[in-house]
Structures are given as structure tokens and as C-alpha cells.
């Protein structure tokens, strides 16, 4: 289908409208802003040159969003205190219109809500407020005063004379977002969802330079004259000279020095700026470095933070504290704050993160480029929530709260990813989100302990059921303690195989005692097992009630007696002066099972799970020792 073409009112060059509903476009020849009223075109001004862009998206780029094909037909560039972002105008196959927000390579697609109902007045807006739009519950995360920086291509409305615009951004826990646009009255509501560069299936992108997808430009440091190369051009708001550390604004025509190089302490990045490496399948370049610290109990804890850039994936961060590394991404969806086991927590994508530490982080030293206006001694409130190996961090300034998600990554992997020589710094201590090497082990060991203990119990029960418990001798006797010699020997009895023997002595003792000297004598070899047993039983009543002590029955167990023929020599003793006659019975059984060895086995089996549990607990204790919740 032929696209409508008209002559530019200013230079007569052909002006093509790709989208039938376009109201405004920019003449590609003279850069006049051309506004369409019915069939008439009117040149209303000339756009300023757009800032250099490192975005791969351009007018004409095609892609898909949730199955619908679209073409990029226009763009508005906004600038605000901390950087710039682009709103790419999308024309879908059904001729409907949408917007692709490209903020520091963080992408979101939204559409104008035609009948949004009553929207809050700008003056009423407060960060943290919650709003309901249809089924969506969103929280206001930032209010942004933005400046119109430039425009290109076709737009669905006139947007050539705007200057300051207030935007309010809202986010939901499920990656939906909304923008309240106060450039018109009544304000406009855009609802959308965050997406990724890959998910958009973009084609006809701007050609990519060699190497990592980073376009470079440069200037000379105003302080020391050293050459400064810029990589993420449009996204760079600050650059700290790698030679003198003077922090400068590359977007200012005069390259204003934001902060003179000072005689402050210098820190050296462990991985040099400009180093390229592959993380998660994408190639990143380290373009910035900062040293930050918090102070807890008058003690300073500092860490390195590297800024990584990929043209399509945007920014990532790499933090390093005493050999512990985290790869960090900013979050699109908003975590929900809650409590877990009585402590503050945050829930993100169904995972609960426990509050770890809240402190004020100070930027002490910076090198390289940053997409925000960075200054040494910048201070931000930082709250960390951990669910090893992940860590959620909320960084709060007066204007906004930024959430990021870090994943603990061993130094060896970082070293390999960035092809660094030698070994990474050795980790010291336990880091907040360091995965425990003992994770899951206690549960495994206790589960197996239970299984093995049950096995031991089953073996014991089988053994108890199958034991012979064979009675091989039984005899009843009596003696008078006054007798001079009460010793005697029993008839012989046979032990049919090597086994234990159980000798039970049942007496009629009451408030009396008896002592039996036994000797189990092998009638063939003359070998004897000599042992003595005391039997005593006392009872009575006192102020505490009835009491008893001892027992009139005694059981003795002889371990592993060899098979053979035996007799028992018995020598009873008693209270010599006035002891009454004592009657007693002796019973010998062989192969009587005992729970002793099974209990011992279970006891020994307990040792490994207890040790593993103690080690795991010790690791966790060391982790939480550094938190706000140390005990």
C-alpha cells in the first residue's frame, strides 16, 4: 500500500508518513517539525540535533510484542537530572499505537489508556502511594521532571513545543508499569509491561560497531588533558577521568568539571576499566568503577562496584567485598515488603528474602563513566535482603527507590568471564548471600539417619524374634545366713553353641540382703567365669510416703560363653547375726537378645548428622553475625 507523501512546507522535500494517523513528523532534509492538520502540512519549527545515541533501535526498526508486529515510527528523547531516555513510537500491524520506553537499555512497552477515569493531580502525588488501574495495583516509585530534548519521526500528537514535563512512574510486583504524563490536562495514563531486548525480536537495527556493542566517542579531560573515551554515549551523565579522577559531565558543551580531582584516597579497580567479559551469554564492558562504604558501629566496610555495559542488555553491576562477588541487575518488577519469622522481608517472584542490613552507603571514589550524575561522597540509603545465592537491594535517595537483584558469583567465575590473569582475591569470611556449602546436607543426613535407624531397629526386631532364649538350667534353693559354709554346685547343663547366658536370681528378700558368689565352671576344661551378685530389697513408709529400694530379683548377663558342659558353683552370704532363711531360685537361659548394640549403633549413626548440622549452623551464624540481626 502506498504511503501518503507530501512536500515539506519549508524545503519542499518529500515528507513520507509511514503511519496514517501520524500528526507530527520531522523532515529528513531540513529537520523541520511538520505537523499535519487534516490535509494541510505546517512547518512549526526546527528540531535540535538529537544527542548521540548508543541505542540499537532506530526509525524503521521492526519487532514483535506479545505476538503483535510493530514498526518504530518516531521517537521522543527526554532528559532529566540523572540521564536521558527515549520513548520510541510504535505502530502496530492493526494501525494502533504504542510506546517503547528505552531507559538505559531497560525496555517497556505501553499503550495510552483512552478512558482512564479520574487521575490524581500532580500535586497530590507521593512516592510510595498505591493506585488501582483496572485489575492492576501499582505503586508510585518515582516522580520525574523531564526536559524535552529532541524528537524524530512520526508521532501521534504534536510534540514540538513542549519543555518541562512531569512524569510519574508506577510499578507492580508482576513487572507491569504505568506512567502518568502531566504534559497535558487532563493527564494521560499509559499502561504497559516491562520486556527485554531479546523478547522484542527486533530487526532492522542500527548497524553495530566492531567489538562489544558499544559505540565510542571521546573528549579530553578538562582538568589534566588526558583522552577520555566514552562508550555508552547517550547514557553517560558523568565521567571520572582515569588519570586524575576529576568528575566531568560529557554532555555539557564546556565539559564542566563537576568535581575537581582531590587528594582523596585513590583505589585501584581489581579489573581494569575497558575490560570486556561475557556474563550470562552477553558481552559486557567495564565502563565505570566506584568504591563505596558503609559505617556500622564506627567501623567502615568498603566494597568495589563496577559498572558494566552492553548496548542491548543495558547496564549490569559487579560488586566485590573481600573476595565475594555479585553480578547485579536493576529490577523491573517491584518487590513486596513483608515480614518473615517476625523480621522484615521482601518477596520477589515468589521468593522470600530476609532483611539483612540497612545502612547509608557513601561513594568514596569513582572512575570511568556513569549513566547518572555521580559525585564522590554521594550518600544513599541501602537495604539488603538475602535469599542465598540472591540478594535484593533497595537503594533510596530523596527522589527515588531503585531495587536491584544480585547473584553471588565465585571470584573464579568472574576471573574466567573477564579473562583475568592469576587468581581472584581469596574470599574472607562469609558474605551475606554466599550460598552455604552445607545447604541441604543436614536434611539429607537426618533423613538418612532416620532411614538407617529404622533399618537398625528392624534388624534388632528380627534378631529378637529369632533369638533362642533357651532355658538350660533351673533350680530352687535356700540358705541360712548363719550357716558356716553354704556353698554348693549345681548339676551340669549344656550350652549348645557360643552365646550369651542370662542368670536370673529370684529371692524372697524383704528388708534384707544377700550376696551370691558365682563361678560358671566348664566341667571339661576347668575354665571358670567368676562373678558376684548382690541382691537386696528394702521398703518402708516415712513422712514422704511409701518407699522401696533395690529388688528381690537380679538378672546377670554373661557375654559369649563358649559351647560346652558347665556347672555353677554358688556361695550365698547374708546378714550373719539374725538373718532369716532365704529361699531363691536360679534360672539360666542362653541366647537372650539385648538392645545394647542396636542402641549403640543408633548413637554412632547420630554423630555425622549432628556434626553436619553444627557446621551448617556455624556457617549461618557467621553470615548473620554481619547483619542487623546479629545475636
Amino acid at each position: 500500500m502506498a504511503r501518503p507523501v507530501a512536500a515539506c512546507p519549508n524545503c519542499s522535500a518529500p515528507v513520507e508518513f509511514r503511519w496514517s494517523s501520524a500528526v507530527q513528523t520531522v523532515c529528513g532534509h531540513c529537520r523541520s517539525v511538520v505537523v499535519r492538520h487534516d490535509v494541510d502540512l505546517k512547518a512549526v519549527g526546527v528540531v535540535a540535533d538529537l544527542p548521540l545515541s548508543s541505542s540499537p533501535i532506530q526509525i524503521g526498526t521492526r519487532g514483535r510484542f506479545e505476538g503483535d508486529a510493530f514498526t518504530v515510527s518516531g521517537r521522543i528523547v527526554y532528559e532529566y537530572e540523572h540521564g536521558t531516555w527515549s520513548e520510541w513510537h510504535l505502530v502496530f500491524a492493526d494501525d494502533s499505537s504504542g510506546w517503547l520506553s528505552d531507559a538505559q537499555a531497560e525496555y517497556a512497552v505501553s499503550r495510552l489508556v483512552k478512558k482512564p477515569g479520574q487521575l490524581p493531580a500532580a500535586a497530590e502525588l507521593q512516592v510510595g502511594q498505591k493506585f488501582e488501574f483496572g485489575d492492576l495495583s501499582l505503586q508510585l516509585t518515582s516522580k520525574t521532571e523531564a526536559r524535552y530534548r529532541g524528537v524524530e519521526g512520526e508521532l501521534p500528537f504534536e510534540y514540538w513545543d513542549k519543555s518541562e514535563v512531569l512524569f510519574a512512574d508506577l510499578r507492580s510486583p508482576d513487572a507491569h508499569f504505568a506512567t502518568l504524563d502531566y504534559s497535558e490536562s487532563p493527564p494521560l495514563l499509559f499502561l504497559g509491561v516491562f520486556t527485554t531486548f531479546a523478547a522484542l525480536e527486533l530487526k532492522d537495527l542500527r548497524p553495530v560497531d566492531e567489538g562489544p556493542r558499544v559505540k565510542t566517542a571521546g573528549f579530553n579531560c578538562r582538568n589534566c588533558g588526558a583522552a577520555i573515551e566514552l562508550r555508552a554515549i547517550e547514557l553517560t551523565k558523568s565521567v571520572a577521568c582515569t588519570s586524575c579522577a576529576a568528575i566531568q559531565d560529557p554532555n555539557d558543551p564546556n565539559v564542566l568539571i563537576l568535581q575537581e580531582a582531590q587528594a582523596r584516597e585513590r583505589y585501584a579497580p581489581k579489573i581494569p576499566l575497558g575490560t570486556r567479559g561475557t556474563l550470562g551469554g552477553s558481552q559486557y564492558e567495564i565502563i565505570g568503577y566506584q568504591y563505596r562504604y558503609i559505617v556500622v558501629d564506627d567501623e567502615q566496610y568498603g566494597w568495589d562496584e563496577y559498572l558494566l555495559y552492553n548496548r542491548e542488555e543495558g547496564f549490569r553491576y559487579l560488586s566485590e567485598y573481600q573476595g565475594h562477588w555479585n553480578v547485579i541487575s536493576t529490577l523491573r518488577a517491584l518487590p513486596e515488603l513483608t515480614t518473615s519469622s517476625g523480621r522484615p522481608a521482601a518477596v520477589y517472584q515468589g521468593k522470600t528474602f530476609k532483611a539483612f542490613q540497612t545502612a547509608s552507603a557513601t561513594t568514596d571514589y569513582v572512575l570511568g563513566q556513569f549513566p547518572w550524575r555521580v559525585r564522590a561522597f554521594d550518600v544513599a540509603g541501602v537495604s539488603d535482603y538475602v535469599a542465598p545465592p540472591l540478594m535484593l537491594s533497595a537503594e533510596r535517595t530523596d527522589e527515588e527507590t531503585t531495587w536491584s537483584l544480585g547473584e553471588y558469583t565465585p571470584g573464579t567465575e568472574i576471573w574466567k568471564a573477564f579473562d583475568q590473569p592469576g587468581d581472584p582475591p581469596r574470599p574472607v569470611g562469609v558474605f551475606a548471600n554466599q550460598p552455604s556449602p552445607h545447604k541441604g546436607k543436614p536434611l539429607w543426613y537426618w533423613t538418612f539417619f532416620l532411614g538407617l535407624a529404622m533399618l537398625v531397629a528392624v534388624v534388632g526386631v528380627i534378631r529378637a524374634a529369632s533369638a533362642a532364649r533357651e532355658e538350660i538350667f533351673h533350680g530352687s534353693y535356700e540358705f541360712r545366713p548363719t550357716a558356716i559354709d553354704a556353698s554348693f554346685v549345681t548339676p551340669t547343663f549344656t550350652v549348645s553353641r557360643d552365646s550369651n547366658l542370662e542368670l536370673t536370681t529370684v529371692t524372697n528378700l524383704t528388708n534384707n540382703w544377700a550376696y551370691f558368689s558365682f563361678a560358671l565352671i566348664n566341667s571339661e576344661t576347668g575354665d571358670a567365669l567368676d562373678f558376684g551378685r548382690e541382691v537386696s530389697y528394702y521398703s518402708g513408709t516415712d513422712s514422704d510416703g511409701r518407699w522401696t529400694e533395690g529388688s528381690a530379683v537380679d538378672v546377670a548377663r554373661l557375654p559369649t560363653v563358649a559351647a560346652g558342659t558347665y556347672y555353677l558353683r554358688v556361695e550365698p552370704e547374708g546378714q550373719a547375726q539374725s538373718g532369716p532363711q532365704v529361699t531363691y531360685a536360679l534360672k539360666i537361659r542362653r541366647d537372650v537378645p539385648s538392645p545394647l548394640f542396636y542402641l549403640l549403633a543408633v548413637g554412632v549413626l547420630l554423630v555425622p548428622p549432628i556434626l553436619v548440622t553444627m557446621r551448617a549452623a556455624s556457617f549461618e551464624a557467621r553470615r548473620w553475625q554481619e547483619s542487623d540481626f546479629a545475636e
Binding site: 576347668g526 567368676d530 548394640f597 549403633a601
Partner: protein
């Protein structure tokens, strides 16, 4: 390590069963060798090692 624990546990179960079957124990009475056969006819001639315990007996 976990496999070792598993093997160790199985060995313990087998060992406990064997020790119980054999009637093993930790406290073994004093063993005496070559007790004269005449003891059968004269039990009083045997001198038990444990005779005449010095323990004091009595109730509460």
C-alpha cells in the same frame, strides 16, 4: 561423603546384629583357668574372688 555414611550405617546395622547374635558384651567376668575338678565334690574349697564384699548394705 554421603555414600560413606550410607555404607557406614549399613555396616553398623550388620555389626550390631552380629554382636548380638554372638552374645558379645563389654563387661566380662573374671576368667580363671584350670579350676580343679575336685571342686564338684568340695565346693567350699573354691575361693571366689568376690566373696565377702565390703559393701555396706542397708535400706534408706
Amino acid at each position: 561423603m554421603r555414600l560413606l555414611y550410607l555404607i557406614f550405617g549399613l555396616m553398623l546395622a550388620a555389626g550390631a546384629s552380629y554382636a548380638d547374635y554372638r552374645g558379645m558384651g563389654f563387661l566380662r567376668p573374671t576368667e580363671l583357668k584350670n579350676v580343679p575338678k575336685s571342686i564338684r565334690d568340695n565346693p567350699g574349697a573354691y575361693r571366689s574372688l568376690y566373696r565377702g564384699s565390703s559393701r555396706s548394705f542397708g535400706g534408706k
